[in-house]
Amino acid sequence: MSKNHKKFLAYLIVLIIPFIFLFLRPKIFTPLKFQIVQGTSLPVRILLFPFREIRKMLTYHRTYEDYRRLKQEVAILTNRITGQEELLRENERLRDILDLKKGVVFSSVTANVIGRDPSNWNAVIIVDKGEADGISTDMPVVNTYGVVGKVAEAGPKTSKILLLSDPGFSVAALNQRTREGGVVTGTLQGVCRLRYLPPDSKVEVGDLVVTSKLSSSFPEGLLLGRVIKLEASQSSPTIECLVQPAVALSQLEEVLIIQK
């Protein structure tokens, strides 16, 4: 075998070995992946700090308006809760009488966003909480506005969150107004798609879409987004809608991971 042939063969092997690894999907690389994430997260956070602070200053007015609105909402809700306490107690008593299973109580962990995955093919964020904080895969991730995504990979101290707008994301959902169910999936466009609505669906632009109780990992009633466009499905006799996520996914800084 000539020297050129040997060289060619060596180069070919260099390409083929990683290609084979793609299909084997070995788990031995998982600790290495999270070590790299851990190693790069500190310089990234330091470099991003001034940019985030500037953004905070630039959005000061909007934040102040939000603060005022939320303060008013809190006052209204506090009054409503006070009024409903009696009803809750009554409800509890009746539940006890009927011996029904009590509702699931959720606890949550607040996590800071380290950064986004630098790939145009994915919508993934990395957060600073991991298995050590009780995080595991498939846990729902939310913020004050609605659903953010779900935990896709949990490392010892960091986790990767698959955002609502990623093509790999899907969750059982329903139209809050009409109660028609479907599945919300992500797209590469940055918006979501509500699929499998019946052809005679009464869905309209502006309707709110929330998580359904059919979802195995998300609690019922979490806001996913708002319908912005209706389309007939090209593959099945159903209606599809484009849904604008309720959360500004490009401006996330803190998220809440719900632990069951």
Binding site: V14, L22, I36, P43, T187
Partner: protein, 161 residues
């Protein structure tokens, strides 16, 4: 060995820069800086160093990604090979436009390779991918190439790579 270490450090630095840029720049403005590095080292140091860069850059990108592990490594390695092929016909020493043309072609190859590899494991809508991922990435990578090449050239001289 010094060269490989210097290339590895430079790749990590540019990876962090890319990571930061992705977090501060909006929508379309996202160049693939690591691909530019792979092409740069191919043009300046040859295929062997380009392959090492491709492997290291792919490993870094795969670590942060949720895609199948190794997808970026394979795509970058393939791009390193294709750069060697493309430069035979297009690389004119001292011509910046020929380098930009090479970057343009290699970034087209990169997004197509990426699309094909992702399609093996999941369903990707080609129209959406073309409009929202491939086109922005090709345009931005080509536009950023000239500036990144200048910085890389300075780094190579400064560190005697």
């Amino acid at each position: 060995m010094y060269r490989l270490t210097a290339i590895a450090i430079l790749t990590v630095v540019f990876f962090i820069v890319e990571f930061v840029l992705f977090n501060i720049l909006p929508g379309w403005l996202k160049p693939d800086i690591l691909l530019i590095i792979v092409v740069f080292f191919n043009l300046y140091l040859g295929i062997r160093y380009s392959l090492a860069t491709a492997f290291w850059a792919g490993l870094l990108k795969d670590s942060l990604s949720l895609q199948v592990f190794g997808l970026n490594i394979v795509a970058f390695l393939f791009c390193a090979y294709m750069t060697t092929f493309v430069k035979r016909y297009l690389n004119y020493i001292g011509s910046p436009s020929s380098r930009i043309l090479i970057i343009f072609l290699v970034s087209v190859i990169n997004v197509v390779a990426h699309y094909l590899l992702i399609s093996i494991f999941s369903n990707v809508n080609f129209y959406q991918a073309a409009i929202h991922v491939m086109l922005p990435e090709i345009v931005m990578t080509t536009l950023a190439a000239g500036y990144v090449f200048q910085i890389l050239r300075k780094c190579v001289r400064y560190f005697h790579i």
